[in-house]
């Protein structure tokens, strides 16, 4: 056995072995950089270029501030969905319907569906970040009032009394602001 640095190889194989171990090191370094550099470039709150174009929504502000929502909207939605689904808690502050109510694009009346991602709120950012949206397989991407026209019932029956939501007289924004205040007061929070 020759005493080359790679003890398991001899002769010609030794050179190959050295190349292999050097090659592995290069591969490892390249992979590390490929993952670490973009992560380092990721900025908290997305203030720099690299996120989707800012799209205006109805109402003066969202349920939480922009930086928080960019990072954590998925956790809010996930918590809310279990509350609504499993327990029947239908507060409007974090409900998906309410998000859509404000964020639906004025022209397309939807939060998804544009091909260039420039017009529709959810899809725009998700396209840019390359994160697949699963919500709208089942959830309607349009706010409530508009989608009634698009349904195709088997037979169109006479309008049913008592159909409408009793709170529908209030606008979406007013409704959630009222509910949000009620929730915060119940929780003992100071409302901002």
């Amino acid at each position: 056995m020759s005493d080359s640095p790679n003890k398991s190889f001899t002769g010609k194989a030794a050179g190959f072995g050295q190349l292999l171990s050097r090659g592995w090191a290069v591969l490892l370094a390249a992979t590390f950089l490929a993952v670490a550099l973009p992560a380092a470039a990721y900025d908290e709150g997305g203030a720099k270029a690299g996120h989707a174009k800012h799209i205006d929504a109805k109402g003066d502000k969202c349920v939480r501030d922009e930086a928080y929502m960019r990072r954590n909207h998925m956790d809010l939605l996930k918590h809310q969905r279990d509350d609504t689904m499993r327990k029947g808690i239908r507060t409007t502050q974090y409900s998906l319907k309410n998000c859509i109510g404000c964020h639906a694009n004025e022209k397309t009346n939807s939060v998804i569906g544009s091909t260039d991602g420039k017009d529709n709120f959810c899809q725009g950012c998700h396209n840019k970040m390359a994160v697949k949206l699963d919500c709208f397989e089942c959830h309607s991407s349009k706010p409530k009032a508009a989608s009634g026209d698009a349904m195709h019932p088997i037979v169109a029956p006479a309008a049913q009394p008592g159909d409408k939501d009793k709170q529908s007289g209030l606008s979406g924004k007013m409704r959630w602001q009222m509910q949000a205040k009620l929730d915060s007061v119940n929780k003992g929070e100071v409302v901002k």
Binding site: R81, G88, K142, G162, Q179, L182, N186
Partner: protein, 245 residues
Amino acid sequence: MSKVDNSRRNFIGAGAVATAGLVIAPGVTLFDMANAKPAGEAASSAKRWGMLIDSSKCTPGCNDCVTACGKENGVASTGHPQTDPQWIRKIELKELKSGRSHSLPMMCQHCAEPPCVDVCPTGASFKRADGIVLVDRHICIGCRYCMMACPYKARSFVHEEHHDQNPDVPRGKGCVEACTLCVHRVDNDQQPACVEACAAGNKDAMLFGDLNDPNSEISKRIATYATTQVRADLALNTGVRYQGI
């Protein structure tokens, strides 16, 4: 925890009750007034929602309940009858020996011991505290085991893509679904769409209410008249009962 100020809540509740009373007046003798559950409160086992269906009042050609369910929940025909979901259907029955025929609507029976909940591998099929059996489509993987398990063939699998869903009723391809007792309406102090349609058509065959409340119309009826649960031999303690089978 700070003290809850109930005055605004009471005002809204009173206003809601007044509006509801005025609007459902024609059929008010048949319907329970569901007590207002504020949006922020969880469903509790103090209530158990159920239905009583009088098959003798059900006319064979009538499909009002089916149509209303389709409109409310966005369950529409796509031209593929074998794969189209059906949350409620009218069954025409005929006794073999006597030839007596009658019809009734069949939907998820919202059992207290649901076989579909037992067999779901992820726990997506679950029973809410107030007795409504639902599918959590966030974790349903579409294995269809619950469809094999249901004795009433209540569940449907969504075989095709859907668009333009009712925002109150999210539903989509690849998950299993069934009658939700219009849970989005029930949580809003309303009746299920089928029950309202039946009342609006003056058939009065369907009654909805709280089985745990001894003073509700439905509890009083069940205590007075003979009612049956379909497949009672399975001892599932269904929330939907029938008269006149």
